[in-house]
């Protein structure tokens, strides 16, 4: 009985979030007395295998097929199906990345299973694991259990475990040639859109606006606060989707990840996709009219109320304080 953990990579360069998955798998393995092996889908004897073999794992398995030279959901689903059928794991553990969201539910469905996705933690009650997921855009947590037999598929949200806690050791590496069927999609090379003109990761203070700003004209209100603080203006996804601010101002999983000294969230409820991009800010300040908004859970200072009342007063008082 074992746990398989997915190692995500691009051209044999590790996606470091996979280390968080290793930590999750090692942790579950210790609790339940299961050994952990890593799986790397690749078209060659992956250069990454050596690096991963330096963690405390039983085996590092390279699932090899020439069609795995670039990610496709069909290719990865086939490879995973073969590896799971061959090794009969108890658990399959992955980091909840965009790539994993793309293929993991397919693998589970094909094997007559279901994936518990985007978990933030697990608890062990006498060998039966309960997984906790965030639902309703972060407003509530749900404890989830799974029926039926192994394998159990689980993915963990970024930050649920700390990658630098991955325990070191030595693992055997092994290559398993896997059968991959027809790939029904043809991928082009991944690319980065024109580099962000504003690099918010270097900002000392960020004033970010969310849905609560209500209209494009109101962005000026936030801009005034940013100006008086010498801060950069940023936004949550809906604001950029509406094109009220350019996309290079977007904070969150699909935008920039920032860690300024101070982060002021105006009318941002705090959906997980936003929080992963700013939770490491030194001081988080939230102004929101909804006292239940999840942003308050991670805020150091909170004001429940109308941002259109709070912000002009803030601007005035800051001007006074600065003399």
């Amino acid at each position: 009985m074992s746990i398989l953990v997915f190692i995500e990579h691009k051209d044999c360069t590790l996606n470091k979030i996979s280390l968080e998955a290793i930590v999750a798998a090692q942790s579950i393995g210790k609790e339940l007395g299961l050994k952990v092996s890593a799986v790397i889908p690749c078209d060659k004897d992956c250069a990454l295998a050596q690096e991963i073999s330096q963690y405390d794992l039983e085996r590092v398995i390279v699932a090899k097929n020439e069609k795995l030279n670039i990610y496709t959901p069909d290719g990865y689903a086939d490879a995973w199906q073969r590896i799971i059928e061959k090794t009969n794991p108890q658990f399959v553990v992955m980091a909840h990345t965009y790539q994993v969201r793309d293929f993991a539910p397919k693998v589970a469905a094909r094997l007559g299973k279901e994936l518990v996705g985007d978990c933030i933690r697990y608890t062990n009650d006498g060998g039966k694991l309960t997984f906790t997921r965030r639902i309703f855009l972060g407003k509530l947590d749900a404890d989830v259990t799974v029926e039926g037999d192994a394998p159990y598929f689980v993915t963990f949200q970024s930050g649920a475990f700390r990658g630098d806690n991955a325990e070191k050791g030595t693992a055997q590496t092994e290559t398993i040639e896997v059968e991959v069927g027809e790939i029904r999609m043809s991928p082009e090379e991944p690319f980065q859109e024109a580099k962000a003109s504003v690099d918010l990761s270097k900002s000392g203070i960020i004033v970010a606006v969310g849905r609560g700003i209500k209209s494009q004209e109101n962005i000026a209100v936030a801009q005034q606060l940013a100006d008086v603080l010498g801060a950069d203006l940023a936004a949550s996804r809906p604001i950029c989707d509406a094109e009220w601010l350019p996309i290079d101002r977007q904070i969150g999983s699909s935008g920039q990840t920032v860690a300024p000294k101070v982060y002021i969230a105006l009318g941002i409820s705090g959906a997980i996709q936003h929080i992963v991009g700013m939770k490491n800010a030194g001081t988080i300040i939230a102004i929101n009219k909804d006292k239940e908004a999840p942003i308050f859970d991670i805020a150091d200072y909170g004001i429940v109320g109308d941002l259109f009342e709070a912000v002009p007063t803030l601007v005035e008082e800051i001007k006074k304080a600065k003399g």
Binding site: K139, V304, A310, T313, E317
Partner: protein
């Protein structure tokens, strides 16, 4: 070109959520609802694709309670041609596989060229319905689609997927295929008065299938408010202006940025 768009009714983003009696979901009885955000974008992309192609049919489909019909009516008013309502009053108790299986059985015979969903629902947020559905229908899928190439629609479909941290990737798919659509793919149109009037004549077909058990289903055992990880100092006691004054004092004395 026949496109089926899956849409879901979810709790309004601004709704104050109360946990239901059995603590397994929220109490939905007294909250306002809305169309799931990314599903609205999925519909918009379907309509634009049909317009670009110059022919086709857009069918909207929801799995949900009778009240979810407002989602379908709104979609018909925006330009969808007809609707399928898979009626189930306890949709929130179904597991992702059960949801996908029920939808697969209801739409299989339509033999659509494309099936669109939003990338995930804003309530249960499984983010799996589309992927499982594609597997059950035996068609390929692409998730988190942020652009569809309208320049060449004769044959294959070229689409852009969003990866993480500002990366993107184009893929080409043979049809039929299933796409899960990311919010922001385009600007959503409003329903016109003409559209609202026309919608009244459009078909909403109801089906009420029994839900099959799924042996490996996941269950929500308990929902609750997230455990707080930080001590938050709440300022102003509900008075936004007073809060602002207090905050400036904190910025000066504790955060020390002024």
């Amino acid at each position: 070109m026949k496109i089926i768009v899956l849409m879901k009714q979810v709790a309004n983003k601004d709704a104050v959520l109360r946990i239901g009696r059995d603590e397994k979901w929220i109490d939905e009885s007294e909250i306002s609802h809305q169309t799931n955000e990314s599903d609205g974008y999925a519909l918009e992309e379907a309509l634009r694709l049909k317009e670009a192609k110059g022919e086709g049919e857009v069918i909207v489909c929801t799995l949900g309670a009778q009240s979810a019909k407002t989602v379908l009516k709104d979609a018909l008013a925006r330009g969808a041609d007809r609707a399928i309502h898979i009626i189930n009053e306890n949709e929130n108790r179904l597991s992702p596989h059960q949801i996908a299986k029920t939808i697969a059985d209801a739409i299989r015979d339509e033999n659509a060229d494309l099936v669109f969903t939003g990338l995930q629902s804003d309530d249960a947020s499984y983010g799996q319905t589309g992927v499982i559905l594609a597997e059950l229908l035996g068609i390929p899928h692409a998730t988190i689609v942020i652009e569809v190439d309208h320049s060449n629609l004769n044959g294959n479909l070229r689409l852009k997927r969003e990866l993480e941290s500002g990366w993107y990737q184009w893929f080409t798919y043979k049809l039929p295929a299933l796409l899960t659509i990311q919010s922001g793919i385009s600007q959503i149109r409003y329903a016109s008065l003409k559209g609202i009037m026309a919608a009244k004549k459009k078909e909403i077909r109801e089906v009420s299938p029994s839900i099959e058990n799924f042996a490996a289903a996941q269950h929500i055992d308990k929902v609750y408010l997230p455990l707080k990880t930080k001590q938050t100092q709440m300022l102003g006691d509900g008075d936004a202006k007073r809060g602002a004054v207090e905050l400036v004092e904190k910025l000066r004395t504790e955060v020390r940025v002024l």
